[in-house]
């Protein structure tokens, strides 16, 4: 009986093999039988959905190509030197983007410097230390920060932060850290430091909520394993949580950086808008985004407009690269788990 290569045979168990239908089909059956296969509808629906999905590629390609097209004039006139030249003279048609690059980088890194430790602290507090009933309200509050429009931050900064910087924080920094050379010159309240602070406040919720998600994704067994070795809570967080999620945290920080690089309105309102490279953080500056916001609509002359669009192109490419790297890092940790940056 152990014939494993049994030839397939047709089993017929019931003698009434052929059933002749005698009853008229019910109205329901008649209707369903008459219904078409819906292949056409299915195919076209899938095609439309795919088209909409591909429109996202189209949007990115379109932005890229139109920015290149419209900045051709400036690309041809200045070449790569555009990004290393300091001149910004609309009257004589001489343009260089270095002051804006400097301003953008300086304010963004200043913002990260302030925001990252705070965001990590908040994330650690929320995931590891916070008593349960407080967790909900505090994360809701930090996410509320993300819902406030940029222009409202700017408004608040102009009327509250700027006077505060001018009268309290600025003089204090000058007295204590003036020797470093970062806090010199006349302090008007507007400048790169103020811009950095408002940026820090704006990117905090992004970094902290993403970091929180990433730290929550660390399995509890990791925590218990470290605790079982007799570690204190901090050692558990450092070894069991932070070390496991460091790539994701770096990704979250880079997403915050991407936001900071492109943030426009609030920065424009408090940075002072002066194309100059200055070591002092009290000095007014200019960023890539804010020069576009300020000068684009009154740009006269094709070269001027084209130079501004080239700045936009640079901003687009830099943020795309930063975001792409950041996304890959966050994905590597959360494995495609929902990213909750709105």
């Amino acid at each position: 009986m152990q014939t494993s290569n049994l030839a397939p045979a047709v089993f017929v168990a019931d003698p009434h093999a052929v059933q002749i239908r005698t009853v008229e089909p019910s109205p329901v059956r008649a209707f369903l039988n008459a219904r078409g296969s819906g292949k056409l509808a299915d195919g076209s629906f899938a095609a439309v959905m795919m088209l909409c999905a591909c429109s996202i590629f189209a949007i990115v390609l379109f932005i890229f190509s139109i920015l290149i097209l419209r900045s051709k004039l400036s690309l041809v006139a200045f070449g790569w030197k555009f990004f290393t030249r300091q001149a910004w003279d609309p009257v004589s048609g001489d343009f260089g983007a270095l002051p804006f690059i400097y301003g953008t980088l300086a304010t963004s890194f200043l913002a990260l410097l302030i925001a990252v430790p705070l965001a990590l602290g908040v994330a650690v507090f929320l995931t590891e230390l916070c008593p349960k009933p407080l967790r909900g309200p505090i994360s809701f509050l930090t996410e509320l920060l993300a819902a406030i429009p940029s222009v409202v931050y700017g408004l608040w900064a102009v009327f509250v932060l700027v006077p505060l910087m001018r009268d309290v924080l600025g003089p204090f920094l000058y007295k204590t850290l003036g020797w470093t050379g970062f806090f010199e010159g006349t302090n008007f309240g507007v400048g790169m430091l103020t811009a950095g602070i408002i940026l820090a406040i704006m990117i905090l919720p992004i970094i902290s909520s993403l970091t929180r998600d990433i730290m929550t994704a660390v399995p509890n067994s990791q925590r218990e394993g470290v605790l079982a070795l007799g570690a204190t809570r901090w050692e558990m967080i450092r070894i069991g949580v932070l070390r496991n999620s460091r790539i994701g945290i770096v990704g979250a920080i880079m997403l915050g950086l991407g936001r900071a690089l492109g943030e426009t309105m609030a920065v424009t309102m408090v940075i002072g808008n002066h194309p100059e490279i200055n070591k002092s953080l009290f000095a007014p500056g200019y960023t890539l985004a804010s020069v576009i916001a300020n000068e684009f609509s009154e740009a006269t002359g094709d070269l001027y407009l084209s130079a501004l669009i080239e700045i936009g192109l640079a901003l687009f490419l830099v943020t795309i690269v930063v975001n792409a790297i950041a996304r890959l890092m966050v994905w590597a940790v959360t494995r495609g788990a929902p990213a909750r940056v709105a």
Binding site: A53, I56, I66, L118, L141, L204, T264, L308, A339, A342
Partner: protein, 302 residues
């Protein structure tokens, strides 16, 4: 079976001086970090409370009926309001939702229902996430180059297109996430009944995920409702009433920006009032839709 260890390590003595110091150092570190993280949380919550409190204080004291019924007064004249900006914002946002919501949801449906696991879907998902991080000002100049340069004038339509493009990636990703939470068994139930795939996607998957998708759309809406930068060179702003789609139109965030950087106290007052109205509009619309969406679901549904 007697087993003799070759080398017997000395037992750990937790009372030795070095051990006690080590324990002390570790526990001090532990408390220090705890204190620092609490401090960080307080430092983060402080500006939020400060901003909201100041905004409510300044905004509420500046609000009056005229704000909602009048258009801006000329420079130097007291009074005036932002009625045209509120309506303008409504028109621009309506336009952008009309374009952005269907495309975003459709793209999300593709990712979750048709393209699961394919290379194309992964590429779309990644591009959407990256597009989400493109600065809004860049959208502004891109749409300026496309629409405004062609039409030769600023328009409400251009503003709507710019905001629509910003809504798409957010809506796509939320839709996909929400559809992914719909159990596969439910789709199989519908397919097993001979329901075509397109009908299954709409009437079963999307319908089951609808509360989450509506919330996601509202969040995208709230995000672009406060956007100023992409409107600077598209909608441009307008001091008067305008209902035409191919003319410059006022928008609340734009008007707040213009008034905030102006030198007039009267305009500052209006800027605060506008900011409060904007925030309240955003928060109320988000909460309202959440409540309505939740009520729409039948009792006992999981």
């Amino acid at each position: 079976m007697s087993y003799q260890p070759i080398h017997q390590p000395p037992p750990m003595d937790f009372r030795s001086k070095s051990m006690r110091l080590n324990t002390l150092r570790r526990s001090v570190m532990n408390h220090l970090i705890t204190a620092l993280s609490i401090l960080a949380t307080l430092l983060v919550i402080a500006p939020l409370v400060a901003i909201l409190a100041y905004l409510i204080y300044k905004g509420a004291s500046s609000l009056n009926l005229a704000f909602f019924t009048h258009i801006p007064a000329p420079v130097g004249e007291p009074g005036g309001g932002m009625a045209n900006s509120i309506v303008g914002s409504g028109i621009i946002l309506g336009l952008s939702s009309l374009m952005g919501v269907p495309i975003g949801i459709a793209a999300g449906v593709y990712l979750a229902e048709f393209g699961r696991g394919t290379l194309l879907a992964n590429a779309v998902r990644f591009t959407a996430d990256v597009l989400n991080g493109v600065p809004s000002i860049v959208m502004g100049i891109a749409i300026y180059s496309l629409v405004v340069m062609q039409q030769k004038h600023f328009s409400a339509l251009a503003g709507g297109v710019a905001l629509a493009i910003m809504m798409v990636p957010t809506i796509t990703r939320t839709t996909e996430e929400m559809l992914a939470t719909v159990p596969h068994a439910i789709r199989e139930a519908a397919l097993g009944l001979g329901v075509p795939k397109w009908r299954t996607a709409i009437s079963v998957s999307l319908r089951t995920a609808s509360p989450g998708i509506i919330t996601g759309c509202m969040l995208a809406f709230a995000r672009v409702a406060g956007e100023t930068a992409p409107l600077l060179f598209t909608a441009f702003g307008n001091q008067f009433w305008s209902f035409k789609l191919n003319e410059p139109i006022a928008a609340l965030p734009l008007q707040i920006f213009v008034y905030a950087i102006s030198p007039y106290d009267e305009w500052h007052r209006l800027a605060w009032a506008g900011a409060l109205v904007l925030i309240v509009l955003i928060m109320v619309s988000v909460t309202l839709v959440r409540i309505v969406a939740n009520r729409g679901v039948l009792k006992g549904a999981s």
